[in-house]
Symmetry: C2
Subunit: 341 residues, 2 copies
């Protein structure tokens, strides 16, 4: 009775992640059957077909629509950024959040170009997380509260959720989370981020290794990895992914940090991110490896490494095309087309 | 004097392909410079940056726009289709052309989804080309006239040309053209097309090898390869690519047949398709190999193998995103963002 009476902040999160609703297998089967009747050789649209069926499953609709796609960005500030792990100062966090709103950022233009909504959540940019080489980045209570905030942030109003992030230093954090969850050291996961030189990359690896060593006793719990080595945008992203599942909103993951946030949930429950698709694989070093570790196949591979949700936003165009083709094409019967000779 | 006095139909085409205009290096340099000033780490948008600069070069505009993108499909019928090289009968050619117009085809839906115009040119579907195992597919005069028709077909009205094709049997033709241009046999280039079985694939390879043997003395001239082993949609596509260059309209190539048509021009003049980008790599067997032979890097790789211009149409969305980002993003100076620490 003793342990159970001490309700801890992560317990609610754990319960939610264990009880995630399943997809709609019937809607998926109906969608797959429809694909087989459309006027094309079987399987000829390949990934577009799979994406339409996947959307059917997670929207619970054999003819899924995408009418309110949204890019949601979480921005956080990192104590570890003071360790010289990034090419840019933390002041850029707020400047970029302003650029998202004013339309000057890449993601703003992509959202306009692709008719995507854009929401930006600034997570205490003036109060960086703790430096994980000296202590936990976040206390359990703060981490759980930020996950809950992320859940609230995406409530209602969207039928496709593209996730993005902003946070100077957060490819260091993503690499630390990946190593904490999947093993290995800084040099297995760290890349150049926004563009550190060789000395910066070496520093980044050392910083990650210090963090892993300091917190090694707590890394068997994915939520502890998130709290100790993570950051607020990671917690917010994890919350958004959980909430989207409960609201039947499919999710498009972006680059290394977003995928690292998803990985926390994947480690808690391997089916927890089945309603997520990987929008792109970035050129940031650890991203492909992390995608491989979770069996995620990117939609796009354009060498991008900007973050902000830019890869997810571009991939949303492919998803929209997939549903338009799925819903709009004629069947062999409707079109009176000859079958195989 | 004798040879020169006998003006032959291909001579005009040869002259046009030799004299293709160069790109606008100054517009490209100005565009590249602008990319370096936009609020992102240098190179972080990778392929999107390269595509914007490429569009600047071939449109002759450092701030290129895409306002009238069009998918243009050429459809042809092939004598060699009677050899059992396809899973579908040639009657499907006209049925699919009707489906393009009525909106039931995949490409119709993609064009609607992506706001692309759609033009379809039906090239004598009721008069198939000759069977290349018995003689030339096209006489030189017919081939040259169809190239000229393709040039006319794309005149005016577009600022991005996505090329597509329809033609039962035309992956056999594409493989024959590829082998004729780059060497090898049927088994080096042939794939399953719309879905032939093992016996069909074997038949396809044999048919290609028969064609290569019959026409072997004339395969050192790319235009002869096009005439003898090709088909009307290939000739039309080649003409469209030539005309687009003269009109400063960048071109998006689609799958194996469209790429094979482009390869004819590439073999005549390696710079002849510098104004073309490969929209996607299909899962049709010879396509990646042909792309590699010409140094073409696909924008998308989604396993598609439908043709119709579907891969090019999807890639047009990425190109539009590239120019919107290029033109719309703020510079570091405009946004007052801190540079590297």
């Amino acid at each position: 009775m003793n342990d159970q009476s001490q309700q801890r902040p992560f317990d609610d999160i754990r319960n939610l992640v264990e009880a995630l609703p399943a997809g709609d297998a019937k809607a998926a089967a109906t969608a797959r059957d429809r694909q087989s009747q459309l006027i094309k050789p079987p399987g000829a649209l390949a990934r577009l077909e799979d994406l339409a069926v996947w959307l059917a499953e997670w929207k619970g609709d054999p003819r899924p629509k995408i009418t309110r796609p949204v890019v949601t960005i979480f921005a956080g500030a990192h104590g570890v950024a003071e360790q010289g792990v990034s090419a840019y100062p933390s002041a850029v966090n707020r400047q970029m959040v302003e650029a998202f709103a004013s339309g000057g950022a890449a993601i703003s233009q992509l959202c306009a170009s692709q008719s995507l909504g854009l929401k930006v959540f600034d997570l205490a940019l003036d109060m960086p997380t703790g430096d994980f080489t000296a202590g936990p980045a976040l206390e359990e209570k703060d981490c759980a509260a930020t996950i809950a905030y992320g859940m609230e942030a995406v409530a209602g109003g969207s039928d496709l959720l593209c996730l993005g992030e902003m946070g100077i230093g957060n490819t260091t954090v993503a690499a630390a989370i990946a190593a904490g969850l999947f093993g290995g050291t800084g040099s297995d996961w760290a890349g150049r981020g926004t563009g550190v030189d060789d000395a910066g990359l070496k520093r980044k690896c050392e910083v990650i290794d210090q963090g892993l060593a300091l917190h090694q006793d707590r890394l068997d719990d994915p939520l502890e990895v998130l709290a100790r080595l993570g950051g607020r945008e990671f917690a917010g992203l994890a919350g958004a992914i959980i909430a989207a599942r409960y609201e039947r909103v499919p999710v498009v993951l972006d680059g290394f940090p977003v995928t690292a946030a998803a990985a926390v949930l994947f480690k808690m429950n391997p089916g927890a991110i089945d309603h997520c698709v990987l929008g792109h694989v970035s050129s940031e070093r650890g991203h492909q490896k992390l995608a491989d570790a979770m069996g995620l196949e990117p939609i796009l591979s354009l060498g991008m490494r900007l973050g902000e949700g830019t890869g997810a936003a571009l991939a949303a165009g492919v998803l929209r095309a997939a549903v338009d083709v799925h819903n709009g094409m004629a069947t062999f019967e409707e079109a009176g087309i000859s079958g195989p000779a």
